[in-house]
């Protein structure tokens, strides 16, 4: 019981840290550039003039915006705090390193989940139908946690320069977008291409979105969900474990 109370206390404090992140970072350059502008322009450049249907466009746009937004602030919070000299204070507070990481993930998740409403609304105006909104919402929440945790992994190297971390993140994020069935559906990929696609968590979210918006996914949704849950668990564990090691090196 005592441990449960302590865990709840740490979770409450993670929410406090997340709320701080949200208030401080929502208007920062990287969020707007990497979270909003980048995916929109990237997407437009691949869809304009290709006579694609809204049913095909929206799941891809949703996947991409969610992925870019949820990974936009989680990588930079840690180096930013270290550079701004607020991190030492935060570590000396009665919170575990995992609580700080969790706070950053929650903030990033919130941004990702919130922004995903935009492509869904655009889609509804374009005439898409969502066969099971509740399951799609669940998938959005799960994927937002997964991508936010991935974002935090990018900031494991203990550099205190946000731009360096952003570079690492960008190098990973762009290939991921191209192998995840956003521009070319899984069914049209060669077998080796599909195997590459399976190493990207974004593939499974896009596939779920196609199942419930386009009406046809490539994999059964149960497998997509299982894969997303697996990726989320691994990302969370790696993020917590590694940040515990590297956090003191930032001071």
């Amino acid at each position: 019981m005592l441990e449960l109370a302590a865990a709840r206390q740490q979770f409450r404090r993670a929410l406090v840290i997340a709320w701080k992140d949200i208030r401080i970072y929502y208007s920062k350059g990287p969020v707007i550039i990497f979270g909003v502008l980048f995916p929109i322009f990237l997407f437009l450049s691949f869809t304009i003039g290709r006579h694609l249907t809204a049913d095909f466009i929206i799941p891809g746009l949703l996947g991409m915006i969610l992925f870019f937004m949820a990974t936009s602030i989680s990588p930079i919070v840690m180096p930013w705090e270290a550079q701004a000299r607020t991190l030492e204070r935060l570590i000396s507070c009665p919170v575990k390193p995992e609580t700080i990481v969790m706070g950053d993930i929650i903030a990033s998740f919130t941004f990702g989940a919130a922004i995903s409403v935009v492509p869904v609304i655009i889609g509804l105006f374009m005439g898409i139908t969502i066969s099971n909104p509740l399951i799609l919402a669940l998938a959005i929440i799960l994927a937002a946690i997964c991508f936010a945790a991935l974002g935090v992994i990018f900031s494991i190297p203990p550099t205190n320069i946000p731009a360096t971390i952003n570079m690492i993140a960008t190098v990973v994020k762009f290939p991921v977008v191209f192998i995840s069935g956003i521009f070319i559906p899984l069914s049209e990929l060669p077998v080796w291409g599909q195997w590459i696609a399976y190493i990207s968590p974004l593939t499974y979210f896009t596939d779920i979105a196609r199942s419930y918006i386009q009406g046809q996914g490539y994999l059964p949704p149960a497998i997509d969900f299982a894969a997303l849950i697996g990726f989320t668990a691994v990302f969370l564990l790696v993020a917590m474990y590694m940040h515990r090691k590297t956090m003191p090196m930032r001071i």
């Binding site: 302590a6 206390q9 409450r12 404090r13 406090v16 840290i17 701080k20 208030r23 401080i24 701004a84 000299r85 607020t86 030492e88 204070r89 935060l90 570590i91 000396s92 507070c93 009665p94 919170v95 575990k96 003191p248 001071i251």
Partner: protein, 316 residues
Amino acid sequence: MPDAVPVNSAAIEVRNLTKRYGAVTAVDNIGFAVGTGEFFGFLGPNGAGKTTTVRILTGVIEADNGVALLKGYRAGSLKAKQISGVVPEMANAYVDLSAWDNLMLMAEIYGVASSKAKERSQALLESLGLLERKDSLVKTYSKGMKQRLILGMALVSDPEVLFLDEPTSGLDVQSTRLIKDLLRSLNAGGKTIFLTTHDMDEANQLCDRVAIINKSKIIAIDAPEKLRMATSGRHSVEVSFTESVNPESLARLPGVKEFEKVGDKYRLYTDNPGKLVTTLVNYSSDAGLKIVTLNTLAPSLEDAFVALTGVEARHA
């Protein structure tokens, strides 16, 4: 390692503490205890290991060896952190938030009830001279205002033990004085304070006891007065006369070990300043001289520091 249960009245207890960074030993097998309600100074030149020690005590880094306990709880444990307030060296508040929001943030992280947090923040901002600017973003604050706010953030949880790492370094006179006054009154109210500084005057004015750390090791722990007095051979008497005197005759007076001309005064070093004063008075009346000033000078904490560390304090 489970958190130990508090057993004694020591607020801070450190034994055999060692921290290495690669081949460099930042803190080398140090030990000391700070009593509850004590104002303890940690004095040493830059790079001596002061900040490393504070960071271990506040749970920012872990020691390689040894024991560090706060009120019996392992340093770095949530319980130890919960009872600590920290002003880290060169720290900053969140500059994109207002002073008020920074205080509320700290209160929430420490789990302080909202009504209590508001009440305390109001009082703290007032005593720190920041009440009028409480809603301004911290990025518009001066360095002194920021540092005062950071002290406020350390106090909003009403900690039992307060750690300050060079809190007045590079600040304006007004902020320095305000911070020192506040620290004094906090200590008078029963708070245990652990202060690192390289400023001798500050340690001398504030601390009940000081530890002097040099090259990663503690070389002395005592009350500032005792450290000063223990520095032998540095007692002196300073005297000046209305007319010029023959320096040789002063140097030959009984009990004078060393002799030095300082401006228009003469400084005579002795083991027995009381006796030398009498000798000087007799000397002046015999020679028909008038004394303008006559002061006995004990060694300063700076003298003690120099004698103990071999470091020129001004560059420390």
